[in-house]
Structures are given as structure tokens and as C-alpha cells.
Symmetry: C2
Amino acid sequence: MRDVAAAAGVALKTVSRVVNGEPGVNPATAERVHEAIRRLGYRRNESARLLRAGRTASIGLVIGDVSDPFYSGLSRAVEAVARRHGHLLFTGVSEEDPALEREIVLAFCARRVDGLVIVPAGTDHGYLCPELEAGVVVAFVDRPPGPGLEADTVLSDNAGGAAQGVAHLIRHGHRRIAFLGDSPAIFTARERLRGYRDALAAAGLPYDEALVSMGRPDPQRVRAALAAMAALPDPPTALFTGNGLITTHVLRALAARPGPDRPALVGFDDLELADLLTPGVTVVAQDPAGLGRTAAELLFRRLAGNRGPAQRVLLPTRLIVRGSGEIPPPARVA
Amino acid sequence: MRDVAAAAGVALKTVSRVVNGEPGVNPATAERVHEAIRRLGYRRNESARLLRAGRTASIGLVIGDVSDPFYSGLSRAVEAVARRHGHLLFTGVSEEDPALEREIVLAFCARRVDGLVIVPAGTDHGYLCPELEAGVVVAFVDRPPGPGLEADTVLSDNAGGAAQGVAHLIRHGHRRIAFLGDSPAIFTARERLRGYRDALAAAGLPYDEALVSMGRPDPQRVRAALAAMAALPDPPTALFTGNGLITTHVLRALAARPGPDRPALVGFDDLELADLLTPGVTVVAQDPAGLGRTAAELLFRRLAGNRGPAQRVLLPTRLIVRGSGEIPPPARVA
DNA sequence: GCCCCTGTTGACAACGTTGTCAACACGCCG
DNA sequence: CGGCGTGTTGACAACGTTGTCAACAGGGGC
């Protein structure tokens, strides 16, 4: 900028005015400056401008794992909203590790991002308090923050969706329905279990701990849990799986056990190609893009000055019936 | 920082020294400063530091669409490498639109990112030249940059992989093999077509334009192309699909037409759940994470000062045989 | 007592911008 | 001709940090 000023024979400030299209510059002078800008290939340093302005026009997004389609739909939506508001997006991946999450969040704060959208892995977000006081705005999505923190939060209706899925199985005559979920340390897993219990209770069915298995969503654990349930004197005739990964593990395990004793299956989270499987898989679908968009929009509303109390938004889920829960029908075309 | 200095009764510079752990500070003074930092909850402004330092310790990633699992695996790898090098990652989504890509890239450059990893949507990257001269480092991934630009590029072996997939079909006795690919405007689509032709030529089979359809990967177009081919006097007995999206469209179309005249199928790109379909889908799998990692590592090698000529890295693909290309076998367990 | 060396500290400028305010020239009005 | 408003321009400080260099005090050797 200094070079441009020298080349055009004007002061720094005049170049700044021209660059920002401020009024009150002689058209002839402006043309000289533009000429110099072109000749020197000058481009304003946005970081410096923002340092001066005291904002960064950027927000940070912390997710668990981009390669999960749930998170990628969510990040895409956040990115779109950020760009619409003229902000750039930092993306960080916590790998579901609270320590890493904290490290990433603090790195974002050190860059003075204007706001944060967080899919929290940890349960203690005390480390955020100083940042909040410093003016950073935070929205949580998919899971609520740890206790003691007031912040906008956007969640799926996990309990309601799970209840809907389980009710679907009950409507189709199932009485012994198993629940295979993620670790109870995870908020969504607990909520979905709650929905499962609600649905059983609503139908007057007993809750049987032997039909519930929660833990890490790895293939061995899922396979072992399935085997244990199959060995019960009164094995389940239907399964409700607590997330997409577990659904796929169960599908793989069931593929090894075809035939009429194959239990029905309803899963939380939609799966790509789920409609092409035989039998089709009925799912409770979330709206990842809706979650991301809503959270980002709440964030920008705060950045625009909204000082209301923290909101908690619950997004509905959608039951997509694809023929499971009945006797295996022929494949349906979407 | 000024407040900390005042609180500790020292000069600004001393606080800076303490914060950076520079030697030559009296331990007692350092303790006073630490005390003040704690009391005031001071946290260094990284943006200001980097402005001073003349770097931003951030890189930009431009991809076409996060919700495509190919891109999400790639971005995850880039993010991991960036963090390992102490850099933050800006993510931008071009939606495969050259104008948007350009806008995002220039926005990143205006922030003075140290480097860029780009999955190019456009074919003219002339707008990057001034940025390159200004010292930005760029690595292209998945597709090469437009002509006239020398930059590190990491590609999958598109032609080789396609040839391998088509050869698999030929080995299983197919002589009429169709190619359904993305728009010929897309580099990878052209390369995969080339591989298809190579494999035919290597087997002494004729190239029949009636068996080739390229265009936007939307369901209607794919369905129409399939119908047209099925209506040929000598319809194809096997299909090679040019990317994952087209493969799923073809699978949906084929699901409506079961039976023994169903053509065999091999697709470029692996699909989640592909092993659970009946029949299983054989694919030519790329390594999205490998692409991202390699591109990011080349980038950081440049940032570390490597001044060699631009490299072009070709990553191998992997044929995953899942029983397609033969008469439909029973489902296999992974 | 003088000099030099070392350890500690601070003043100042700089990174690349923009906000504030003052200066200047010009023309118009009274 | 003096005063004043307007249009144009520039000097300076500031954003929050760090590099450069100088200043100062204390101690040891001559």
C-alpha cells in the first residue's frame, strides 16, 4: 500500500480511501491510484484490516470426524451460512477427543474468531468461560455443552426419533426389541435410549436389560452383543440401532445370518444406498444440514447483536420406511 | 498485553518475553508477569503476532462438495497434516463452480494464507499467477490446474484404475462393455474414459460410441442413457461407471430391472455398504485420504523452503472385487 | 577508580491497515 | 476583501504483537 501511494504520488490514506471506495476522492486522483494498483498488482491485506477493525470475519467449526457423512453435511451447511455472512470458516476435527477439542477451540480463540460452532466431544466446557467473557460467541450443535454453560444449542429430537422408530417396530407386531447404541457417555446415545424406553413404556412393553447393549461402535463389540442376544432363551425379533455406524455393523453381521430368523431392523441415521439393500432398511433420519444451518444462523444472529437468553432448538427427525420391520419384501425403487 | 504490563509494573516487551518464554528474564519478574496474566485472564492475540511475523500459519482448502465422501476423506487428511504443522485450516466449498472457486481462492489469498490446496473446478487459473508471485504456495489435488501453471499436483491413476476395472470385466468374458461417465469437461472423467479405451484396445475389442455416455451425474440422464443402450440391437452385458454418484444412480436403475439380463457392473470409487448389496459391487477404489495427505505434505515441503520443480504424483487405485462381473453370486461377508 | 562484561529491562519502530482530525485550496456570499 | 463552507488531501495514532538496540546496574579484574 505504501508502494502504491508512492507510485501514485499520494498519501497512504488516499490509497486506503480508494481501495475502500470511500467518497471524497477526486476522480482523477482515484484513477491514478487505480492505475498504480494495477501496475503493482497490489491486493489489500485482509488480516491487517481486520486486526485494525477488531474482528476477524471468521468463525471456527469443531466436529468429530469429517468422514462421517453426518458431519460433512453439517459442515457444508455451516460453511454456506458463513460465506453468506462474509465470513471464512476454520474447520477443526476433534476425533471425539475432549482434550483435542479443547486444544482446537483455544487455537481458534487465539486467532480471535468471531464465533464458534461446536459439536462437543467433552462434557466440561469450563475452559470456554474466559473466552465467552472476552466476547466470543458459541453455538453448540448435535449435543449440548457441559453443565454451567449457557449457549445456543441445536439438537435433533433424539428421544422422539428413537421412540418413533421403535414404535414402528411395535406397530409391526414386535414385542422383543433390542437396542444397540453408542457409549452411554455420549449424550445422543443416552437420549436415543430414553426414546426407546419411552416407546416400550407407551406400548406397555417391559424393559429388559438383556436386550440393551451400549458401547463403542466397533464391529467386534456389535457382533458379540448380537450373538449374546441371539443366545437368549427369548431372543429379540427386532433391533433398533442407535447410529449409522452401528447400523452398518449390524447389517454386516446379519448378512452372515440370512434366513427367516433374521430380526427386523430400524436404525437411527439414514444410510446412503439403504434403499438398495435387500431388505431395505427403515431409518430415523436426521437433518445434518438443518442442524448446521440452524446453529450457524443462531450464531450470526448473536454476532449481529441479539442478546436474548440462550436458545435450545430441537429439530425433528423423519422416519423413512423402507420395508424393514415386516417380512422381507421385494426391493423398492426410490 | 498493555494491561498485563501495567499490572505487573513492567514494560510491554517484558510481557512479550515472558509469554514467548524468551531467556533473559529475571525469574522473580517472570513470576510477577505470570501472576498478572492469570489475574487478568490474558491470552495472546495470535493474529496480531502473525501479522507482525508476516505469516498466518493457516492454509486454505477448496473442494467441490464436502458431502461427497471422497472430499470429506480428503479434507480430513489435509486438516490432520495442517495441524501437525501447527497450521489452521480454512475450508471453502466451490460447488464445482469456477467463479465461486476463484472467489474463495482470492478471499483466502486476501487473508494471506501461507498455502492452498485446491481441487480445481475451473480450467483457467491465470488469476492465481499474481498470488504465486506474491509467495503463496499451491498444491492441486484430484485434477490438474489449467494450462500455463506450474504447481505440485496429486492425482489418482484414473486411466490406470479404469483400465484395471474394465479389464476385470473383460477377464470375466464380457465383450460389450458400456462406459457411463461424468461430463467430459471434467479431467477425471476424460482420464477414466481413456483408461476404458486403453483396456478395450489392449484386449483387441472395438470402441463403440453407442456404448459411451458422458454428462451430468443426475438420475434422469443416467436412466435415459441406460435405456438407450438396452434398446440397442447388441446391448451391453456389462457397465463401467465413472464415479460413485453415477454408480449409485445405475444401481437404482438396475434395481428396477432385476433378473438374468441384468448387466454386470464395475464402478469407479468405493461405496459405503457396497459389500452388502446383492450382488456385491466391484469397484476401483481411490485413496481420498492419501490424495489429501500427499498434497498437503508437498505443500508444507514447499513452505519449508523446497524449491524443486513442480511435482506430479500419481496415486494408485485399488480394485476391490465383490462378485460383480460374474453371474450374481450369493452375498459375501466382508 | 576505571573499564568491561553480563544480566535485565525498556523505548521505539515496525507489520498493513483505518479512524480522527487538521490543513489546504477554491469559490461564493455579504 | 474577509469569512465561510466544501471538496480534497495528508499526518498521525491506533489495532496487538515482536525485533532491534540502547540503557542501566552490579560485579570482577586491572
